[in-house]
């Protein structure tokens, strides 16, 4: 556990002197190991270590805590700061309906998360309409219909295969039936699938969503930076939802995605039920990544 390892490295330094380059770089080797094991991207780890080293070297050793604890605090604060200083909630303009679009790779948890978001904003007094825009996956529309039924939320779907048309019609339906928010569930897709990425681009320009949320699996490893980078370059998404965080994945992908896109992580998915969603806490995530 990282604090014990650091105390070992720093035990010669108690109470006086400055944090030297030598013992900082020794502890940074340990931090590198911890972050890589937590699935933070290799290049993000390099940059992170470099900036922490700069901050730590030459600092006076404090009397109240061990030098190891002091370095950990620097690391923890740097990590939490990178995650985002505060919570960033959903953005709603005065437009009716407001639109939230969920995007991401196959199996990341979009359809389930659509149900969670609907529940979340329903609790805030809004009246969402779920939109079944995955016309590819077997029984995807049925899946969303069942989700809607479970949480007592209306679902718009039709038999067509034109995703933009479905969403435009959902928009009209929403206005007609006084739904103030559209939550669009899209099909999982690869960032390297040009046709499918183009579909999202068209959806964005036709619907002007207030929120485009990139739904990413919490256990994603090194490739998180590649997918996030392509999705953000294509869509300039507004936030990230990291799912399946009720498991024991350390969630280093959170730091990678944040470092590479600068976008806020807005929510964590913490289970399969529709109330199992949490607003993201930067400091808590930092502790989880550090193990």
């Amino acid at each position: 556990e990282i604090s014990e390892k650091f105390d070992g490295i720093f035990k010669r330094l108690r109470g006086h002197g400055k944090l030297s380059e030598k013992n900082i770089s020794e502890s940074m080797r340990e931090v590198r190991r911890v972050l890589l094991e937590a699935d933070v991207n290799y290049k993000v780890v390099k940059q992170f270590i470099a900036s922490v080293e700069k901050k730590a070297v030459g600092q006076d050793v404090l009397k109240s805590i061990t030098p190891g604890q002091q370095v950990i605090k620097i690391i923890h604060d740097e990590l939490a700061g990178l995650m985002g200083e505060k919570q960033e909630p959903l953005t709603f303009s005065n437009r009716i309906p407001g639109t939230i679009m969920l995007v991401g790779l196959q199996g990341s948890g979009k359809t389930t998360t659509a149900g969670k978001l609907a529940t979340f904003i329903q609790q805030k007094g809004r009246k969402p309409l779920l939109v079944a825009a995955d016309v590819y996956r077997p029984a995807a529309v049925e899946q969303l219909r069942i989700v809607g039924r479970e949480i007592d939320t209306m679902v718009y779907s039709d038999e067509g295969k034109d995703v933009v048309k479905i969403c435009k019609e959902a928009e009209s339906f929403a206005k007609e039936h006084l739904h103030d928010t559209l939550i669009i569930d899209t099909a999982g897709r690869l960032h390297v699938d040009e046709t499918m990425m183009d579909e999202l681009d068209r959806l964005k320009s036709e619907l002007h969503p207030e929120e485009i949320l990139f739904v990413a699996d919490g256990m994603t490893g090194q490739d998180a930076v590649n997918t996030a980078k392509v999705f953000t370059e294509a869509l300039d998404f507004t936030g990230v939802i990291l799912t399946k965080m009720d498991g024991d994945a350390r969630g280093g992908a959170a730091l990678s995605v944040r470092a590479v896109t600068g976008k806020p992580i807005k929510f964590l998915g913490v289970g399969e039920k529709y109330n199992q969603i949490e607003v993201f806490h930067p400091a808590r995530m930092a502790s989880r990544i550090l193990g």
Binding site: R33, L36, E37, A38, D39, N41, Y42, L105, Q106, G107, S108, G109, T111, Y136, R137, P138, A139, A140, E142, Q143, L144, R145, I146, V147, E150, L190, H191, V192, D217, M219, T220, G221, Q222, D223, A224, N226, T227, K244, D246, G247, D248, A249, R250, G252, A253, E272
Partner: protein, 281 residues
């Protein structure tokens, strides 16, 4: 005289970065590079290309027990041959089962599917559509039903209908949820009860995007019910799936198939050489 008895450290750094970026993980990467150093000090390598070729051979060798003599597609000793497909949420179990059933049907095996995910919305409907696509019958029950009961009924149906292969689709479950792991153990106990020795194959489905948590998944499923092989999915993306090196090394579980897309033909037998080549692309 060129004294090349040391590998260029830059080349090794390059290799280390490549492996870590491929989700091989720090410990396993260090182990693999150590193997390279050892092989290297017994001989002389003059250029970078030779180092890479030697290294690819080492990597392929590490995975080679995957191509075991017990290839399930050639050795089917029982009728029905029962395959249980397990793994955490969203990895591609249901889709892989559809593809696998299609492969067996093309080889003239008669396949029965069991929709034992009675929990997730439209899981049964999803498998049913795959069943229609690849012309396999399906045993199912109503939502919220007992997955073990579906498994039991499916074995009996497979016997009664003289099916060659029975494939059980289970619900995605995080390995950290002990009640769900117990549910899986119960499904397997019931399979064994219905047909001693079943399930004959236990395939763990792992998403190639998964990082180091993949090893924890494999270890926990291995401890709970045993795993005979891995299906590594979504290799048509940019993730490399390097976690399989750790899984092979620490748990000796081989990769049997890879998923390379969402269509029926997008399942291939695992080929270590091709997998290693793809790592370096």
């Amino acid at each position: 005289l060129k004294s090349s008895s040391r590998i260029d450290e830059n080349t090794l750094d390059e290799i280390e970065e490549l492996l870590i970026l491929s989700d091989v993980g720090l410990d396993t990467t260090e182990h693999l590079i150590e193997r390279l150093r050892e092989k290297y000090k017994d001989g002389i390598i003059d250029n970078e290309e030779e180092v890479f070729n030697l290294f690819k051979a080492i990597l392929a060798e590490e995975l080679n027990s995957s191509v075991s003599a017990n290839d399930p597609e050639n050795v089917i000793n029982t009728k029905p041959h029962v395959i249980s497909v397990i793994g955490v949420n969203g990895t591609g179990k249901t889709t892989s089962i559809g593809k696998l059933a299609g492969r067996y049907q093309q080889k003239n095996y008669n396949v029965l599917l069991a929709a034992a995910d009675t929990f997730r919305a439209a899981a049964t409907e999803q498998l049913s559509i795959w069943g229609e696509r690849v012309r396999s019958d399906i045993i199912k029950t109503s939502p919220g039903g007992d997955p073990a009961a579906v498994a039991f009924d499916a074995v009996n149906a497979a016997k009664a209908r003289h099916k060659d292969i029975l494939i059980i689709d289970t619900a995605g479950r995080l390995h950290t949820k002990s009640n769900l792991m117990q549910e899986l153990q119960k499904i397997h106990r019931v399979l064994d009860k219905a047909m001693p020795g079943a399930p004959h194959e236990i395939l763990l489905v792992i998403d190639a995007n998964t990082g180091q948590n993949g090893l924890a998944q494999a270890r926990t499923f291995m401890q709970a019910v045993g795993v005979t092989g891995i299906i590594l999915t979504k290799l048509d993306g940019t993730a490399k799936g390097g976690i399989v090196f750790s899984i092979q090394k620490q748990l000796k579980v081989p990769v049997k198939y890879i998923g390379i897309g969402e269509k029926p033909d997008d399942l291939q037998r695992f080929d270590p050489g091709e997998f290693v080549e793809a790592l370096f692309q």
